[in-house]
Symmetry: C2
Subunit: 195 residues, 2 copies
């Protein structure tokens, strides 16, 4: 297979990119400078080589512990629990949260065979100790996200003496946190309520 068809095939494996979009992107890369193309290739290579899971919070980062867990400027008294590492940039961009994160690596979904033991919940329980005053549950506003939030609320209420809050329903119902805009996320932070 020649270089053009090979790249069209590889790009077509990405989510939301069909064959025609893959062709369009390939020809765009071809028309640009070789340096631009090489920089893109290097960025993907670097991602594959350098990014790893943070042993503390489950975030994806090129440092372990990640930049949040190692920062002395973050408030270790607040722990924001998210489904995926990709939710963290959305929250950071809203500029409303200065605490630490915990990444579950998914959501409870019995239909897909995802139970509590498949999520990074044991790690969460290990972190709920002295400095943590509040756990903010920031799972998605979907059915599975709500179920995960309720499960965590019950688990944490019985095993730790911390305030447990949930992001307000400022998020569009059924929507993914990852795609929400910063203002909506900020409102959701401001209106978070006791569980």
């Amino acid at each position: 297979m020649n270089a053009i068809e090979t790249l069209v095939g590889e790009l077509g494996r990405l989510p939301g990119i069909g064959r025609k979009t893959a062709q369009r992107l390939t020809y765009h890369i071809l028309k640009g400078s070789r340096d631009d193309a090489r920089r893109l290739a290097r960025a993907i290579d670097r991602l594959a080589s350098e990014v790893r899971l943070c042993g503390a919070c489950g975030n994806l980062s090129d440092m372990d512990p990640c930049e949040f867990c190692r920062s002395p400027r973050r408030d270790a008294g607040q722990l924001c629990v998210v489904e995926e590492a990709s939710d963290i940039p959305a929250i950071e961009n809203s500029g409303n949260f200065g605490g630490l994160y915990h990444v579950l690596g998914g959501r409870l979904s019995p239909l897909d065979g995802v139970g509590p033991e498949d999520l990074n919940i044991r790690g969460l329980l290990r972190r709920i100790d002295d400095p943590v005053r509040e756990v903010i549950i920031a799972t998605n506003a979907s059915v599975e996200g709500e179920a995960t939030a309720t499960y965590l609320q019950r688990l944490l209420a019985s095993s730790a003496d911390v305030r447990i809050t949930r992001l307000a329903r400022g998020l569009p119902v059924g929507g993914d946190l990852e795609y929400a805009d910063g203002v909506t996320i900020a409102e959701a932070f401001a209106g978070r309520r006791e569980m």
Copy 2:
């Protein structure tokens, strides 16, 4: 800048890919295997290293002359003139053309300062000799594509004794050839008319 932000930035430079899509793609690549990511990076690198302009027709290929110009099975009596190399796969997929191609590298567009001297027209005139019986002008059905077709028709009619045809208006008016489906392209080939 860390590896994640670097790739989000690079992907965001591609056409039609905004910041959120770039983030989504980056996390998709992160979640996949390292081998998948490396294969994508290698495909881009290979594109940048191996693909060059065909000296005969202006197509982008990893061979010079390209696979069409060097193939003994293509009919050298038919020459299909397209705006961009990216139009060629669309025509090939329609399965209705077995001749050779000529890539102009753009279209006449006085507003953008693109005149005849900016297109690969001199190369086209050099190719219009003995074996060529027919020149099929397959520029886009846009205003610029039509203007380019008319310009080429006049130029070729005065300088060579060949049949000059234009793809039929099976193409949606104003549409780009690159995005047309195979059936539409096939109909356009079948209904091509004298100019």
